[in-house]
Amino acid sequence: MNWKNVAFLVGVERKSGRLIRGQVLTHYRESKIGAYLFYLIALVIGLVVGFLVGNFYVTGVISGDPALATTLQPLVNSVLFSLPTLVLIYSLVFTMLSQIQRSGIKTTSQVPYWLPITWQEHTLASILANMMGFPLISIVGIATGVIVFASFAGFIVPAVLASLAMIAAALMASATTEIFRILQVRFLGAVYRSTGRAAIWVRFAGSLIFFLLFYIAYFSIIYGSGAMTFIQTIATTQNAAWFVPFVWLGIMLYNFTSGTLLLGLVFMALSLLFIVGLFYLGVWLNTRFGLYEPPAITVTRGAYTPKVGLLGRLGFSSTEAALVRKDLKAFTRRRELMTIFIGPIVIVLVPLMQSLGAAGQASSTSFNLLWLGLTFLLPASIMAMSLGSLIIGEEGRAVWRIYAAPFSARSFVKSKFFLVVLFALIVLVITGTAGAFLYRMSIQTFLWATFEAIFLAFALSAVSLSNGIKGADFNEVPRPRMIRVEWSIINLIACFLSGAAILAPLIPYVLSSFIPNMTSLDPLVYTAISGVIAVAITLVFYRICISNAKELLSKAED
């Protein structure tokens, strides 16, 4: 193992991470301050939080009632035991998501093919680079906080052990992600080959289902039961799940703090062996499949026949319709774009799952309004906001084709706007239908909620598209960013303000639902006012879209 090679490869990955965040780098060598700033911030936060909590624990809690220390000890212990498993779970989620986002780029796995680098070096560097960034930064913060707190509470040795176990847990998660990455490339390749022409739809449906399950499980676990309940669940169940290697670090901590040192050492050795095993499995898989290229997906066979589409009949020119059709294909075939569909669906599904039990008797005003927001207003708004901001940058480096083609700013904006609104309305139909069926509502409520959602879909599509054009980012390496970070934030604020302006006329109606003596007009009257505001916002931002598109097309590669 050439450690210099490993360090260089990790450095390259880290630099690519900084490029993703939009930092302009003109030299290969990184600024040490820039590279380690987040670690430093995490360290300071850990120190401050640890000091404040520790100080409060000693002076405010223990000094008042010393018996409380004994009462609180099990809680402190359960937090400590669950830390490695907690770190493992969020590191897995984070590293897997970042790998999925990079799935469109296949160059990184090709490095050993043309450089004198072994698969061991490549695999180790990939695991370490995966682990760096958010997982390691958060560990620095948590570990510092725990150690400082422990110095007040008097359990410094277990705290140091827990910190080391957290690093090992992040390493475990990162190695697992590396294995998952290689396997999914190999597995999906085999699936595509066997499914032939249906491969595109298999991939689309498969990716959607995977993302959905992943997000639902994640949000349900993390937010569904509450953080403390979750931590306590980990602490109590991990001993029962001793046969699962991923919880061995937590069991090790439990045994060390319970005084069963021998068992603690056994689980420590087992954990280390498991990490080494994961590493060698990753090396073996990389050696076998690292350079594997997925087979070509054949979409059409036989003679080519031009199709006369529906869009022409809707008043789109052939140029505009071509762009819409191309983008429709992009959003069903590019895996990194499929995540855009997930947000609105998860937003509905997670609370839906949690509230299904209460659906029958759910009749409180606040519950109904929340549900209306979740099924009607939010999904379509989020789809419009995210898709509008990304639909220009998704062109990537192939954007030269748009620059060199006879697109006017008007036809360009018309096509893109149509697609964003279309997707937002499709989401509204799906989530609104689900909401209407599950939570029976009056026709009047159904009508105003639907109209408000349509207004939001149109207005936010125009707002986000204007920002998407202005802030488009066509870089694709190391992963497509599609919009620059500052414009993404601007878009979020602009969409929030626009949404608030559209929904503002409904405030009297909402308040009258809570305040018994307050009178209110028919909600459809307020909806009509919302409609006027939405039309105004849409028109203004549509014009801004055209103006931004003119600038984009005229400046092109300048």
Binding site: T300, Y304, S318, A321, A330
Partner: protein, 256 residues
């Protein structure tokens, strides 16, 4: 030649302190095959991009097919076929879907589009792979798709940066012969290349760029006279004119 296809008047383009194109004056006649040569970073690609309106000049004016670039870019782009140096295609589309997209973008009639796509796919030996997604194509196959997309709508002017990159010999020959045929039909071609044999064999006139300047311009004989190498090939002429001819010391240094 009835009119000038391209006119560059005193065109300059700067990128910060770097002058990519330095006061270039150039006129290319209709129906001409014009070759733009020069070492890496000499300003060829920037010049071609300015003809397409993808890059705006800092000084001077660019007129293409009688239209001032930037005045009516949509009308101009309709008449031009363009192949950039490293054409990135929509890799999630199949070859035939990509060409169908191009046909629609340029407003071709369905029957005409179908016939031409079929002809070009057959000619450049892409039949049988046209239904595969482009991400599985070799670089040569991608280049063929990029070339077809430039020819498909029968443009009046072709602007091509390294058009024969990665092509197999048969396809390269077909493209060269095809460009000669287009020339006979009055279609102008401007191409940049590093393969001097191609430029010598194909181009009516050649412009040699060096450090952003148009160093030499003319047909082969005129260039030979300029270089004072009456019986030499384009390679010697090019190296002499760009002052990069004496390569022996570099090779000797490398061998140390």
């Amino acid at each position: 030649m009835s009119f000038n296809a391209v006119e560059l008047k005193n065109v300059t383009k700067r990128y910060n302190e770097i002058v990519a194109v330095d006061h270039v004056n150039l006129t290319i006649g209709s129906g001409e095959i014009f070759g733009l040569l020069g070492p890496n970073g000499s300003g060829k690609s920037t010049t071609l991009k300015m003809l397409m309106g993808l890059v705006q000049p800092d000084e001077g004016s660019v007129t293409v097919l009688g239209l001032s670039v930037g005045k009516d870019p949509v009308a101009l782009k309709r008449m031009v076929g363009y192949v950039p140096e490293a054409p990135r295609l929509y890799e999630f589309l199949t070859g035939v879907e990509y060409l169908d997209f191009i046909g629609d973008v340029f407003g071709m009639q369905p029957e005409d589009k179908k016939n031409r796509i079929d002809e070009y796919l057959k000619a450049l030996q892409l039949e049988g792979r046209e239904g595969d997604m482009i991400n599985s194509y070799s670089e040569g196959m991608k280049q063929k798709i990029a070339l077809i997309s430039a020819f498909l709508h029968r443009p009046k002017l072709l602007i091509m940066d390294e058009p024969l990159n990665a092509l197999d010999p048969r396809s390269a020959r077909i493209v060269k012969d095809f460009l000669q045929e287009l020339k006979r039909q009055g279609i102008t071609t401007i191409l940049s290349t590093h393969v001097l044999e191609i430029a010598q064999a194909m181009c009516d006139r050649i412009g040699i760029m060096y450090q952003g300047k148009l160093l030499a311009l003319g047909n082969m004989n005129e260039l030979r006279q300029l270089a004072k190498l009456p019986n030499s090939g384009l390679e010697d002429v090019f190296l002499k004119l760009t002052g990069t001819g004496d390569t022996r010391p570099v090779v000797e240094e490398l061998l140390k």
